[in-house]
């Protein structure tokens, strides 16, 4: 009784309560991210080992939805789909069992478009290209602009002469060359207490779960939804809705085409030293493709500008394979919309299975020509 009385005193109760919550926080950090990630990327992304973009040997499935629906806290706009995500022993995404025995032919690299957001392993760009070509296209997506990693992968695959297909999102500015080509530095073992504390307390699985609960009532009915301003909800010509990132003026290709040309010229030359050819694929972001098809959303930067043409022509004139998917995807998107089909996920920034399939076909046309040319040399 006396013990209970003491326990009920605030000077004892509050510290115990805080301790219990802290213990729950610590315990939650032992739970695999798969349990609370809304898609594969956050669950398997490897932030500790700089040599591997994802955790090694992962084989998991998710009921995933798009990053824009998550960003804007718009559950009504979620388009759930099954995502099966596997990684190999080196921490890169695999292309499924069907292409496992193919001889090595190319390395695909780039950002999340190359990795394949919320599509299954056999639906990624690398898997599609493998099926079309009969050669293994290794999915090295997730390691951007990393010549060292590409060289390492080429040696692992024993790829003496091959192609590096680089998926380049046109919203990304590349740095002024040259870049250092070096092995990734291991994480510093030096413990900085302040940084450690900030990082430790900035994220915890408990905070993810509680944040999700809190966001359920941030629905613009009970509480305002502060995340709503992070996305634009637009109506397409067929009446369906689609989410976009808010308009931005960011088009490095239009602003700095010469810097981009210099960079890819240098990149191609470095690859050439290892016997690899570059095939640069310009991928448009969603606003570029669906902006013209939206009724109530007019992004500022839609306009296949002179910068795109300049980069493609300049690289081609120097013998570097370059493909701009923007006009192709725009045309296909408009045609598909008339049939009620879309090429990008409605609730995500990325292309969907159909968009990837079409992109793979276009890339293969260019790559196939290069393969034939190489054979005849």
């Amino acid at each position: 009784m006396r013990f209970l009385r003491t326990l009920c005193e605030l000077r004892v109760l509050i510290p115990i309560l805080l301790l219990v919550v802290f213990a729950a926080d610590l315990a939650s950090r032992t739970i695999s991210r798969s349990w609370y990630a809304f898609r594969a990327w956050e669950a398997v992304e490897n932030q500790r080992d700089p040599g591997a973009p994802f955790h090694r040997n992962q084989h998991s499935g998710w009921e995933a939805y798009g990053d824009l629906a998550a960003l804007g806290n718009l559950p009504a706009h979620r388009a759930y789909r099954r995502e099966f995500f596997s990684t190999d022993e080196w921490g890169y995404r695999t292309s499924g069992e069907a292409v496992a025995g193919f001889p090595p032919g190319a390395i695909l690299t780039g950002d999340s478009f190359a990795v394949g957001q919320t599509v299954n392993d056999e639906e990624t760009l690398a898997a599609r290209l493998s099926m079309l070509s009969g050669l293994q296209v290794y999915n090295a997506g997730g390691r951007t602009l990393d010549l060292f990693a590409l060289g390492t992968i080429a040696r692992r695959l024993k790829l003496d002469r091959g192609t590096v297909i680089y998926e380049y999102l046109d919203r990304t500015l590349v740095p002024e060359p040259p870049l250092p080509i070096e092995a990734p530095k291991p994480r510093s073992r030096k413990i900085r207490p302040r940084k450690f504390l900030e990082e430790f307390f900035s994220f915890s699985p408990l905070s993810v779960v509680l944040r999700r609960i809190h966001r359920k009532i941030e629905d613009d009915r009970i509480l305002p939804n502060p995340s709503r301003k992070n996305v634009v909800v637009a109506r397409l010509k067929d009446g369906s809705s689609m989410l976009f990132l808010p308009d931005d003026d960011n088009s490095p290709i239009e602003r700095e085409p010469e810097q981009i040309i210099r960079f890819w010229r240098w990149f191609a030359a470095e690859l050439g030293k290892n016997g690899l050819d570059l095939l640069l694929v310009l991928v448009p972001n969603k606003s570029e493709v669906y902006g013209p098809l939206a009724l109530d959303y007019q992004p500022k930067n839609v306009g296949h500008g002179a910068g795109h043409e300049r980069v493609i022509q300049a690289l081609r004139s120097e013998g570097i394979l370059a493909l701009d998917l923007t006009p192709i995807l725009r045309e296909k998107a408009e045609a598909a919309l008339k049939k009620g089909e879309i090429l990008y996920w409605p609730d995500d920034t990325h292309w969907n299975r159909e968009g990837i399939r079409l992109a793979a076909e276009e890339i293969y046309k260019v790559w196939h020509t290069a393969l034939l040319r190489r054979e005849h040399r």
Partner: protein, 461 residues
């Protein structure tokens, strides 16, 4: 680091407290509390610890000087130079860019081509508070209201005490001197139950009330040009409560933390929205600042004298009080507005007091709310747009979750007008209510976990 942050609750506070309890000697505790204060402050920017250390050293040396001499000229020198240094630091970090920006605006207005480049000075968090701590120490030492301390660590402990370091209350040395001098027996004066009670209630006021109200009104106030009359009034009512819960919540937490360490931090809010007139309001709102302004500005200016001199002294005091709040002309206008109200109250006190209490309270609250328009506005354009919407009918334009906000404000009104403030509470709760207090903290912690950590409004001052 904020009080409403996980790193404070889980790491800093337990460490500060248990090491304090472990250390027994007075000097050891002074040193530890000083170190804890600097560690707390360094989470914002370690470099600015040097600034605080400099201000501390200058003031400490001034105190020693006062102990060493009775010569009036030397004492005046010891008063003017350190206070001047503190005010110069405050002026530079807080008002340099404001002055330059004002010059540039005036140059534009007068069609001059001269422009001065802004220095983009970073405002050190809490500088308005710790410089006031050192200034009050120097002035009180000069006036012989206190005996300056020879113990550097005692003084540095006072200046850097983390409980009130960055957002007040402005605690004068004489108010905590006894507790500091008996710090080795702090356990005898420590009040864990009362301290945690204050802390939890303060946390709930900040996290559950102030921040929730802010979530409704801030997006609306960003679109101030499109607010109708009803929304403008509701937003300003919301802001009145947000500011009160935010600031008084912080003060409650500061008092609660002080109690855990056996240091009695004085009350800073006394139900200001129950004030019956403007003068009463300033006896209840930010008491530590208003008493500082009274003791170190209003009274030295001459205080109450003729109608003209009293009015002048009030206006100067309130104008500078407004300036203290921030480097923006809207704060100056806010200060002038309250100065004017105080001057008018002096001449209308008798007829005012004949009004029913309810009418006086409601009218005072209305006048204060109107003043908050300038306090909240980032520009005169915003202030006049809000006042225009409030006082000339504009139809209801709509506002997200309007009905929820109204319910919340009704609840806030009941809390503010109908319940005792935290200093009127005994904090000796029955077990059921203790569970309730604990649940308030739990709810606050859960909101903090959900990523809603927000700074206290008075940090910007």
């Amino acid at each position: 680091m904020l009080f409403n942050s996980l790193v404070f609750l889980y790491a800093f506070l337990p460490l500060a407290y248990w090491i304090f309890r472990f250390l027994r000697g007075r000097t050891a505790r002074y040193i530890w509390m000083t170190a804890a204060g600097y560690l707390f402050y360094s989470f914002w920017n370690p470099k600015f610890c040097l600034l605080m250390a400099f201000s501390t050293l200058v003031s400490y040396l001034a105190g020693l000087g006062f102990l060493a001499t009775d010569h009036p000229v030397k004492r005046r020198f010891l008063l003017v130079i350190p206070v001047g240094i503190d005010l110069a630091l405050l002026a530079f970090f807080k008002y340099a860019d404001f002055a330059l920006g004002t010059f540039n605006e005036m140059a534009t207005w007068m069609h001059l081509t001269t422009r001065l480049r802004l220095m983009e000075v970073v405002l050190p968090v809490g500088i308005s508070f710790y410089t006031f701590h050192t200034i009050t120490y120097i002035v009180d030492s000069y006036r012989r209201t206190i005996t300056p301390t020879r113990n550097f660590f005692e003084f540095s402990c006072y200046v850097s005490l983390f409980t009130q370091l960055v957002a007040g209350p402005i605690v004068r040395f004489r108010e905590v001197k006894d507790d500091l001098e008996r710090i080795e027996s702090a356990e005898k004066r420590a009040d864990g139950n009362g301290g945690w009670s204050l802390f939890c209630i303060g946390m709930a006021k900040k996290v559950l009330l102030a921040d929730t109200i802010a979530a409704f009104i801030n997006p609306a106030l960003m679109e101030y040009k499109h607010l109708g009359t009803v929304e403008s009034w509701v937003c300003m009512l919301g802001y009145s409560y947000q500011l009160y819960f935010d600031f008084s919540g912080y003060s409650d937490m500061a008092m609660g933390l002080g109690r855990l360490f056996g240091i009695r931090i004085p009350q800073n809010f006394n139900s200001p929205y129950k004030a019956a007139d403007v003068r009463d309001f300033w006896r209840r709102w930010h008491i530590s600042l208003s008493t500082c302004l009274r003791d170190y500005l209003y009274i030295p200016l001459g205080g109450r004298g003729t109608a003209w001199s009293t009015g002048r002294n009030i206006m100067i005091t309130m104008l500078l009080g407004g300036v203290w709040h921030g480097a923006n002309w809207t704060f100056v206008v806010w200060g002038a507005y309250h100065g004017l109200l105080l001057v008018l109250h002096r001449s209308m006190a008798r007829p005012w007091e004949k009004l029913p209490l309810g009418v006086r309270r409601a009218s005072t609250f209305l006048l204060v709310l109107i003043g908050w328009v300038f306090f909240r506005s980032t520009s005169f354009e915003m202030a006049f747009a809000l006042l225009g919407a409030m006082f000339s009918w504009t139809p209801f334009q709509g506002m997200t979750c309007f009905s929820t906000l109204v319910v919340l404000l009704v609840l806030a009104t009941v809390v503010v007008q109908g319940s005792p403030n935290t200093c009127e509470m005994k904090h000796d709760w029955r077990p059921v209510l203790r569970i309730g207090i604990a649940m308030l903290l739990l709810a606050s912690v859960f909101v903090m976990y959900s990523g809603q950590e927000t700074a206290f409004l008075y940090f910007q001052f």
